[in-house]
């Protein structure tokens, strides 16, 4: 609560927020949820709790999405729903990862971030592939395949003022957007995430006060995706030096880590995601939609002719990323982690070994996490973002 005493003097009272959602200390029991994902069954949600320095998966399921769509303007803020999670997900706090076409996540220099803040638009978003089709609305949100409805830069007197660079991890509102940055292992480079201010406010009020859980973290889905690797045993064994390829339904991302800190985040250009790979199989091999999984898993039909163009582009970009990590950060990548691929990992592995002489490892998303009895996960890759959101929001040190 702020009280303005005079024109220049303002005093501020900070009432304690209470509960388990306040502060920045490590959390040992929390829920990660991915909002407005492509999963058809609802919002992938996981509950993680930490016991004796080990993460346990207490629950993982698809939860019914909240009523209403993610607002696309301030006017839509009038329809603010409240959302309650099922009983087994009622941890003290929740980390929400959101898929928003208006959101942005990427690596950028300080100058670029300041420029983005000054203009109030997402400039660090990498361009969508040229082949992207206009997306249909899913769960009230335009699919990430749709071009982001970038608002026109607001040319006001305020926008010409150079904003202050935000402190590490502290969300800052500027020109109608909310920004948060974390430093790279590389000097003057940062990870930057941003959302329109109204979406941040809408998400912050989604889980009602006084009932478990309440939101302790709002992250952009890509940001959570990058953190999903943190509990992987092979990532920990490599001392946090790793090149990871994340495959999503609509996109492919490369993430580089150096001693546990981010050094690279890049969307694979001219490449659509897993769904495009399936489409290629259907079109090239002429199989039914229902048979694609069998084609990708079984050896009866060789899908490599269909996959080759798709994988080839990804492997080329992977090679570039590997060279960048080697030359810029002295990280010798001899194996690449592949995450988020539901089916067809083996074909990627063969192609990588043949083309780049590289080893691809594709651990299960929940490797390194002890799964409680009774937790049944049919499609673990769907929970990658929710898992990453929870791991990042836990802020533990391992």
């Amino acid at each position: 609560m702020k009280i303005q005493l005079t024109k220049d003097k303002t005093i501020e009272f900070n009432f304690p927020r209470g509960g388990g959602s306040g502060g920045s200390k490590a959390k040992s029991d929390l829920v990660g949820v991915e909002l407005f994902s492509d999963a058809p069954n609802g919002c992938p949600t996981v509950r993680l709790y930490r016991k004796k320095n080990t993460w346990h998966l207490g629950a993982a399921d698809y939860v019914n999405a909240p009523d209403g769509a993610l607002p696309e303007s301030w006017e839509d803020m009038r329809n603010q729903p409240t959302w309650e999670l099922p009983r087994h997900f009622q941890a003290p706090s929740a980390a929400i990862a959101v898929n928003s076409a208006a959101g942005s996540f990427g690596q950028a220099s300080s100058e670029a971030i300041l420029l983005e803040m000054m203009h109030g638009v997402a400039l660090v978003n990498e361009p969508e592939p040229a082949t992207a089709e206009p997306g249909k609305r899913r769960l009230g949100l335009k699919s990430s395949r749709a071009p982001a409805p970038a608002p026109k830069p607001v040319q006001t007197e305020a926008s010409t003022r150079k904003p202050e660079f935000p402190a590490e991890g502290v969300p800052t509102s500027e020109n109608g957007r909310r920004f948060v940055v974390r430093p790279f292992a590389e000097e003057d480079f940062h990870l930057c995430a941003s959302l329109p201010e109204f979406q941040s406010l809408w998400l912050g009020r989604l889980l009602p006060e006084g009932k478990r859980p309440t939101a302790s973290s709002i992250q952009v889905a890509e940001s959570a995706l990058m953190a999903s690797v943190l509990a992987q045993p092979s990532f920990l064994e490599s001392n946090g030096n790793m090149l990871v390829c994340f495959v999503r339904n609509e996109s492919v991302y490369f993430a580089g880590y150096k001693e546990g800190l981010p050094v690279l985040w890049r969307r694979c250009p001219n490449t659509r995601g897993y769904l495009a790979m399936r489409e290629a199989v259907i079109k090239t091999l002429g199989v039914e939609e229902e048979l694609v999984d069998s084609v990708l898993e079984d050896a009866l039909i060789d899908p490599r002719p269909a996959l080759e163009p798709f994988i080839h582009n990804v492997l080329e970009q992977l090679e570039l990323a590997r060279a960048y990590l080697s030359s810029k950060h002295q990280i010798n990548v001899d194996k690449i982690m592949l995450l988020g691929m539901p089916k067809g990992v083996e074909h990627w592995r063969h192609s990588a070994e043949e083309t780049l002489k590289l080893q691809i490892i594709a651990p299960a998303p929940f490797d390194g996490i002890q799964i409680d009895k009774g937790v049944n996960i049919t499609q673990p890759t769907d929970f990658l973002v929710a898992l990453g959101a929870a791991l990042a929001a836990s802020e533990v040190e391992s």
Partner: protein, 218 residues
Amino acid sequence: MKNASFHLNLLKDTEKLSSSPVRLRVILPTLALLACAGMAIWWGVIFTQLMLVKSQVQSIEDDIRAKSQSHTEVLAHQAEVREKKLQVEQLDYYKAGIRKLGEPLAHFAEIMPLRVQISNLSIEPPPPQILQPAGAKVPLFGPTENVETQKLVLVGRTTKETPVVAMMESLEAPMFSDLVTKEKKINSFKQDNATTGNKARLLSFEVEYTIPERRFAK
């Protein structure tokens, strides 16, 4: 490895809500308001009591003001009563100081020898009392001394010394203790030169007795 390095949290601390049903954010201002209301009620009670006491003080002052006249009169009466009591007390001193001389004087004739003729019996007046001392607003009512001494003077004639001595011995009897003490002084005993009809030879005498002390006491 720090998970926090990957936590790009867009939720501000001020927007974080408590999942606890007991919300400090609500409870604290409510308690503060209740405390303020309690203080206001308390001050109200104190103010009411103050007003009550003030009105009581006002009514008491009015009462005192109204009764001050009669109070003054009562005080004056009380002072007068004290004064009168003092006067009565002073007068009681006189009462205690009364001399009962009638009975001894009645017996005085009985013991008078035949050859003694008392020509004069006098008691000298007491010393004057200063009942209006300088500066006194009102005269004193009581004696100024606690003890008063007077003399009894017997003047007479006789034919010879013996009857006078007998008279003086008789006066030492207890019945005359209220009239005279043993302290006496013979002022004169001499030939009476006054002319008499039988031309007998007479002696005149004058004896002075000290009367017992008159004590003004309760």
